[in-house]
Amino acid sequence: MSALAAVGPPNPREDPECCSILHGLVAAVESLCKITEYQHEARTTLMDNAEHVTNKGRIICITNAKSDTHVRMLEDCVQETIQEHNKLAAGSDRLMQIQQCELVLIHTYPLGDDTLVSDRPRKEISPVLTSEVHSVRAGRHLAGKLNILVQQHFDLASTTITNIPMKEEQHANTSANYDVELLHHKDAHLEFIRSGELHPPGSASRDSSLKETVTLKWCTPRTNSVELHFCTGAFRISPVDVNSRPSSCLTNFLLNGRSVLLEQPRKSGSKVISHMLSSHGGEIFLHVLSSTRSTLEDPPSISEGCGGRVTDYRITDFGEFMRENRLTPFPGPKQIEAAARAPLERAKDQLERHTRYWPMIISQTTIFNMQAVVPLASLIVKESLTEEDVLTCQKTIYNLVDMERKNDPLPISTVGTRGKGPKSTERHQRVLDCIVACRSKPPEEEERKKRGRKREEKEDKSEKNGKDVEPDKTWQESERLKGVLECEKEELAEAEIIKDSPDSPEPLNKKPRLAIEETPPVEKAKGRTLMKMERLADNEDNEDN
């Protein structure tokens, strides 16, 4: 707009010979020869195949021509200029030859006058130049013609949304129905063309002077709930009459976050929802919804498939895990940070760390069902711990050991906590050492020996691989301990209380709930608890694994 303002309106006192559109046409050809950044990059990347990068263009010239002869003169001028500049371009790096140029001449004349120039469809002037002539009255007729041309040039199509209820200012109690016409890429109508309901643009039945538009009915949104639709395309739209009251009413409605479903009007049969209008970040898109019958109907039931008979998946815990692993956009890398790991890679790294130890079912874990372990489990996630964090972890461990010593039943609840495995740092190592130390305490040893043979085995193993363990070897150690742990787990799995998690698949035959005396499982749980905590503190990358 500011460039137009700088040019200003035509000066009626200027010499008509100096104001020739030829200057404009020559300047247009010149700028078509100039290489763009995209072309330059493409040519450099393709190197040997640089000739695949094309240079084609279109010149739209709005002028007032004097006659058909004048028009021919303009065409010849463009042709000569292209030839001259192509010669120049051959010898320059900053210029490219024009391979194809479309000249669109729009002759506009005042209302009330007759046209002295005739319309002419596109014809080839030379292998590099085609030309077409449109004759149109000035004013809104010119706007209408440009509307038709823009659809041809940019592969657009028109959709009219009908039946939009809008309240008028004067009659606030009633609403009237309005139509709004939108432009968008023609692919949004692909399904209509395929099913034969619409003729493809450029076909014989489409008159280029008439505008064809597809009418879709507005469906009043019933709920505010967001659904995931099966969508096969999404195209930006542009209202034809951008500042008319109905148009701005519609666009404001969408920009405020509401989505609208659009219905294909049908004379008979059931309602077919074919499209949806939705705004994303201030940009309105027309989504194409698939309305055909799905070939994936009647899929096999989950409860009949692998893992379908298990009833105590940690669904809620995994839900929390997912929320913690949600994605967010980060700004693009600046030059200095080019070597830094891409955010998506860091997301993958985090997932890997967090899933090194993630039991899928409730009966496979006790520590994640225990409120007392929450501080430890949530802190050990972090890539690096503070001194305070280490103290908190140690306190949690001592607390648990205390409970064991006092023979308190450990509070096992279904409120899950997450377990994650970070990279070992010096502080992590101290937490691990604390766990190991607790397990090696003589009074503990005595008590455990009373409780079971299996505990002894673990005991021996931890003593052998005691405090002298180097950080590199702690993973292997915990793997061995893990092996013992697995055996115990399997035995316990049958015996422990089977809890149904809310969203596990329904088992075909509900298993009776088994109630077990609290003490034996809990005791075993304690031993396992410390083991598991070792694993948590220990999780370090090991190639052998």
Binding site: R194, T295, E304, G307, G319
Partner: protein, 467 residues
């Protein structure tokens, strides 16, 4: 994508085939044999595919409508009679009708025609090169027919096995239907890309944020139990034999990551973003069919680093723990999505459009309405005035500026006695500025120059105008 078997039952198919052995086969026996192979394969390994059987000669008949019951198809195949001459065209028309009726709209289908014709090649060309012809290599004999069908099965009907990963949590899965290779138009040559067999989850996004994205295709993701002892793979669905029964029972009872993932995605209303290859992504989600039964599904996005404008460049998405503060807010009330485009769209701005006279009228009336409410509406008055001024200068419509200046002067004379004195000052100041701009004088008609309110001070003398 559904399959239509188009079987030629014309007399030409009863022509005998010369064989080395003593048995004499007719062409149609060979065809039936090959199709039996196909049906058996589908019944075992690809049972979710819908198939129909159409027989044609001079007319066509839908012998078996679309079904997943391969026994029915098999039986129908063996009871086909012979008819008269071959007429492929009407048969293809019939197939098109059937497909349209059953599935509605356009649907890519696989045709199995059992007679070789040049016309088929033309057809494929018309279909933009999408399609394949399988012919028997060598002489028509059982073995060659078998190998041709074998090729067809391998390329079109072999189940797609993959490994679904989320960090260290994994599951072996079958993706149905088989993801088709995608043609990418590159600068040099078009490239055919297929998805990886390692499907790696990279993170999670709320359903409201992913906002019904456009997808190339969607598939069921079914967990499978890979039997390590032999090559056979089962989907865990109960079969007839006892051995398979117990194997499936065991599979049913071992926890599977797919089931966990599906359950949580459904409860939380989220999708999992999955990487399918370099710069190619998709999403996993829970989808309920019309009968309220839900399954884990995967949709593939268009290949590319940034195919969803509201998500931005996918490689720039990272874990929220890396952000200074949680972009979703403490109570999940916010979201970092959608990303805003660099330029505001026309409908999101105050654009001046005077194609129709009503547009111009509205804008002028807006100014006059505000003029009558000065000095309360001073801000809005000047904002609208400057918008009109800019548009008039850009369109070279200088006469409008002097016209509106006249209107403002007239408004000034129509001010009631009760009006604030400032109103008169502003109106005449604005009118004067507009008149100067309408001369085209570079000092007053600069595009970026804005008319500012005249500062008035009613306790003392009026200050000079500011440029």
């Amino acid at each position: 994508m559904p399959t239509v078997v188009l079987m030629d039952v014309s007399l030409s198919m009863t022509r005998p085939v010369s064989l080395e052995g003593t048995e004499e086969y007719q062409r149609k026996n060979l065809a039936a044999h090959g199709l039996t192979m196909l049906f058996e394969h589908m019944a075992t390994n690809y049972k979710l595919e819908f198939t129909a059987l159409v027989a044609f000669s001079s007319l066509w008949e839908l012998v078996v409508p679309f079904t997943r019951d391969y026994n029915t198809l098999q039986e129908a195949l063996s009871s086909l009679e012979d008819y008269d001459k071959t007429c492929l065209e009407s048969a293809l028309q019939g197939v098109s009708n059937i497909v349209q009726q059953e599935w509605g709209g356009a649907f890519p289908c696989q045709l199995q025609n059992t007679d070789v014709l040049d016309k088929l090649e033309q057809l494929i060309n018309l279909n933009n090169g999408e399609g394949q012809i399988y012919t028997v290599d060598g002489s028509l004999c059982l073995k060659n027919v078998q190998s041709m069908f074998g090729k067809l099965i391998d390329q079109g009907y072999s189940p797609f096995h993959a490994v679904l990963k989320c960090g260290n949590l994994t599951s072996d899965v079958q993706v149905f239907p088989r993801p088709e290779p995608v043609l990418i138009a590159e600068e040099t040559e078009p490239v055919l890309r297929t998805i990886n067999t390692d499907l790696e989850i990279v993170g999670f996004i709320e359903i409201a944020d992913i906002s019904s994205p456009p997808v190339l295709s969607r598939h069921l993701v079914l967990p499978i139990a890979v039997n390590k002892e032999c090559d056979e793979v089962g989907t865990g669905i109960p079969e007839d034999t006892e051995d398979e029964n117990s194997a499936n029972q065991i599979a049913g009872k071992s926890p599977n990551f797919c089931v966990l993932l599906h359950g949580s995605l459904k409860v939380e209303g989220m999708v999992a973003l999955v990487q399918l290859g370099p710069d190619w992504y998709g999403m996993l989600y829970s989808q309920a069919d019309s009968k309220k039964k839900s399954n884990l599904m995967m949709s593939l996005f268009e290949p590319g680093p940034e195919t969803l404008p509201w998500l931005g460049k996918i490689s720039q998405l990272g874990p929220i723990s890396d952000a200074k503060e949680n972009p979703y807010g403490e109570d999940d009330s916010k979201s970092p999505f959608p990303l805003q485009p660099k330029n505001k769209r026309s409908y999101a701005q105050n654009v001046t459009v005077w194609i129709k006279p009503s547009g111009l009228q509205t804008d002028v009336q807006k100014i006059l309405r505000n003029a009558r409410k000065l000095p309360e509406k001073t801000q809005t008055f000047y904002k609208e005035l400057n918008r009109l001024r800019k548009a008039a200068l850009a369109f070279g419509f200088w006469e409008l500026l002097s016209g509106v200046a006249d209107l403002l002067e007239r408004e000034c004379t129509l001010l009631p006695d009760t009006a604030h004195p400032d109103a008169a000052f502003q109106l005449s100041h604005a009118a004067q500025q507009l008149k100067l701009a309408s001369t085209g004088d570079s000092q007053y008609a600069a595009f970026t120059h804005n008319i500012t309110p005249m500062p008035t001070d009613f306790s003392g003398s009026s200050s000079s105008e500011r440029m």
